[in-house]
């Protein structure tokens, strides 16, 4: 079943040196349960596409439907609501709140989404293998563990779409593999669609589909 559809999406930035076409006519359809990897060189438009998917950025042109509804643009609060209801996001640098414990980082997102459920938070932490670390502060656990907390956090409100921006970019290869395995199993268990931006070709093994971009355009779109 189709989760989202983008057609003719453009994102142009007007700079003093001229117009930069970060996205230049993207057509993309994503079905539920897919794990998509966005690959491409620096400046190819991967992150901009991710931002448009998350309704963080406003496309200059084009249509974007999510669950057959038009995704809001130009209205910060409506875009926020869309993200709250549909999107999970994992950053490269984890960005856990240092003053909160592992468990509290997840509870916080639930609270902000009006749905605190500690049992569910603990279940998610167990899903990413951190059931013994619930009361530790982020600074007390490793980078790989922090990223697993970030994944659990992004799943806390049961998003339809999980987005990851270079989420293994700050980890060594062994840890990257662990994190990706956790992510795949967690998303399969929760039936969550994922789109991940990366430079790392090794991550292709965890995807069901690979989309390659260059100069703001999709140059290939292959199922794995």
């Amino acid at each position: 079943m189709r989760l989202l559809e983008m057609s003719g999406i453009k994102r142009h930035y007007v700079m003093p040196s001229g117009t930069v076409k970060a996205l230049d006519g993207i057509d993309l359809k994503i079905k539920e349960g897919e794990r998509i990897l966005l690959l491409g060189p620096s400046g190819s438009g991967k992150t901009t596409l991710l931002n448009c998917l998350a309704a963080l950025d406003n496309p200059t042109e084009g249509e974007y439907e999510f669950n057959k509804e038009i995704v809001p643009r130009g209205h910060a609060e409506k875009m926020t609501t869309f993200r709250r209801e549909n999107i999970g996001y994992v950053f490269q640098f984890f960005n856990l709140l240092q003053d909160l414990t592992v468990l509290e980082n997840i509870l916080l997102i639930q609270e902000l989404s009006d749905g605190k459920d500690e049992a569910r938070a603990r279940e998610l932490l167990a899903l990413v293998g951190l059931e013994d670390e619930v009361n530790r502060f982020p600074a007390e656990i490793s980078g790989g563990q922090q990223q697993r907390v970030a994944i659990a956090r992004s799943l806390a409100k049961s998003p339809n779409l999980l987005l990851g921006d270079e989420l293994t970019g700050n980890l060594d290869s062994a840890t990257s593999a662990t994190v990706m395995e956790v992510l795949v199993s967690a998303c399969e268990a929760e039936n969550i669609t994922t789109v991940m931006v990366t430079h790392d070709e090794n991550l292709v093994q965890y995807a069901t589909r690979v989309v390659r971009l260059d100069s703001g355009k999709i140059i290939s779109d292959e199922k794995v």
């Binding site: 931002n51 963080l56 910060a76 996001y89 960005n95 902000l112 600074a139 956090r153 921006d165």
Partner: protein, 809 residues
Amino acid sequence: MSMLLTKRLARSLWRTKLRLSAVVLMVAIGVFAGIAFGAYANSVTTLYDDIYDDDEEGLNLPDLWVENNAGNWNESTAENLCQEIRNQWPDVELELDHCEPRLVTSGQLFSSDADIGMVSAVWHGIDEGDVNKVWIPNHDCCSGRLAANDSEIVIDEHAVDALNISVGDTIRISAGAGFALNYTVVGIGFHSNHLYFTAEGALLPAQPGTFVTGYMTSEGLEKIANYSAGSSNQLLLDIVGTPDSQDPDGSGLTTLKANISAIVGEVDESPASIYDRTGVDSVEFLRADVEGAMKTYPVVTGMIAVVAGITIFLSLQRLIQSQAKEIAVLRTLGVRRMSIMPGYIIAPIFIGAAGCLLGAIPGVLFGAPAMISMYEEIIGIPIINPAVPDSMVIQNIAIAMAVVFLSGLRPAWQASRLQPLEVLRGEHEIRVSSRALQKLTSRMPATVGLTIRSSIRKPVRLMFTFFAVGISMLIFGTMLLMMDSMSEMFLGGVEERQNWDVQAYTIDGEDEIIEWADENDADYELMIVFAGNPANDSRQLTAYGLENVVTENDDSMYLVNLASGELPKSGMGVPEVLIDEGINHFLGWKVGETHSLEFGTKTVDVKVTGFTKGDLSRTVYFHRSDLSGIVGLEATVVMLQLPEGVEVDDELAQISMGIDVREDSLAAFETLMEQQEGMFYSIQGLGILIALAVLFNTLVMNLAERDTEIATLRVLGASNNRLGLMLFGEHLAIGLIGGFLGCVFSILGTKMMISSFVQWGMYFTVSATTSTILILIGIVVGISISLTPFGMWRIKKMDLVAKVKDLSQ
């Protein structure tokens, strides 16, 4: 020192223009206020020195006064007293220059203006005029000459405007139980006893048109008061040089006074009191005021500079934190520590220099003249040669520059000590949150826990912020608490605990006043007010002899404000008394102890049964019957409650030495408050503004540091309203903690400041009422939460795309 590094730092600082401006402004305000207060203190000090000086221009203020409390000396007694004092002069180090008899008596002026009518007066008969002369400065305020014959008079400048008197006018006056006669006004000037222009026994400046003083020849006063030639009731003793009346033991005044008391007692039996300059209310009040101002102005500059210094310190620390990676890269590339440091030291110096310049110029041009003219308006004395000494300006600038310079040292040292590897690995930002705090807040919702933990994430910054807010609130609170205390002291005294309408002063003439009261169906109550001093201590106190020493009694016209202990009983072997808290503070006298008091030449033991509060000057409360036996007078004051329709008339004025009307006393307080409220409110506003700047600076830094956190939450779907609520909670928590600490700081600071300023002649304490505490806390809370919309605006304005880019790099 690298010019490029300094330029880079300057640009970084420029990016925080608003905060930078606030800091510069704070330094400027500190210097401005210091110069304005300093100019006032210096000008007034010079003024008093000039007025009191023993030269052609000055009035030659005496060093000791001998006052007959029971009437007048005749000419031969007065001459004999002076002669004996000269002959038996006991001190080899202090040399007597003059001994001059003087006649001073109360009276009335009958204004030709029906609306004014009769005005209470004090008349001085100044015969030889070597000591305590009339001061007629060469200034627009004053004109004319001294009285030369027995129908001429000089009127005090404080009174002429309201009474519409000018040189050449004829005025009708009376004195004591004498006649009403016409006198020609030949001059307008001042006198040391009335520089601070209050009616008999009053604390506050007299209301315009209610009090007048005049200076005539001794013959002139004798004529109108119907006294024999050469009558006097004061001896003015002028000593060569000026022995320090603030250190009477060290300067020899205490011993000298005791010896003169013995000499006077040998010659004449009249109860006489002997006092130095501290016993002359006008002189002592103005001296205490100027001493307070001299102590205050460096403190004011210092306090504001400290707040500015803290703000600079915190801002530089934040700047270094945000520039840590750049500094680390520079250090990695081989830039020496000593090249990093200077910029962070120079920055506060530039901020301080700009602030000093912005504060000093308007301070000299506008602040000092405004302060001086406000003083002239309140006290009513012209400052002939206003001075803004260079040394005082430099002193203020030096204080401000020293504080801001010191504020940059620690951040500069921290910047040079950053470890490149730690910074580049991001280790310097990693820190384990407090486990204790986590446990304490673990049962709360995560948003509340985060709010509390975020609020106190930077304890050092927060402590400095609270300290600075505390100082700001001290500036605000001092004014608030002092206004409250003054109101309580004065209104609490006159309005709540005294229910007389008129006080008629007398010496041995109470029977006539009682007769007047009976004729007019007025209730009356006798009281003795008599000057005395502790034994072997030249400092003066006032003894009150009350008909009933009570705290609550509708029948009594004068209630005491008992702070601790018990009310005294009358007729005990050793008279029982209440002493005011000031005597306890300065002399350490305690309840249950027996001490000696001197009244003129008589020494008596008294037993202290309790303390009173709310007395500005040093006060002892007796039962009238006890005090009467000691001083030999039945009453010096008759308090009257007038029935409706009865007012003070000429007859009462004629039979009284002076009259104090309750309504005038209350109006005087209102006037004083109105005159000073501009300054009070300005200083309060200043305190609030500084607190606002300090809190703004800290909360903006807190917000800036939480950009990543807030951006993360925004990306994850937190709504602006939820984040706003979190910010509100954080600001409320900071406001409550800061408000509480600011309140404590303010109350303790004001108490400490007041306790360092209080003197024998002027003692008061401050205490905070619930409403004062709520105002102090409420202001900080108000400022803190009023910054929430700014925080929300900042969050709303946040470029999430750029932030996400930052989060992924």
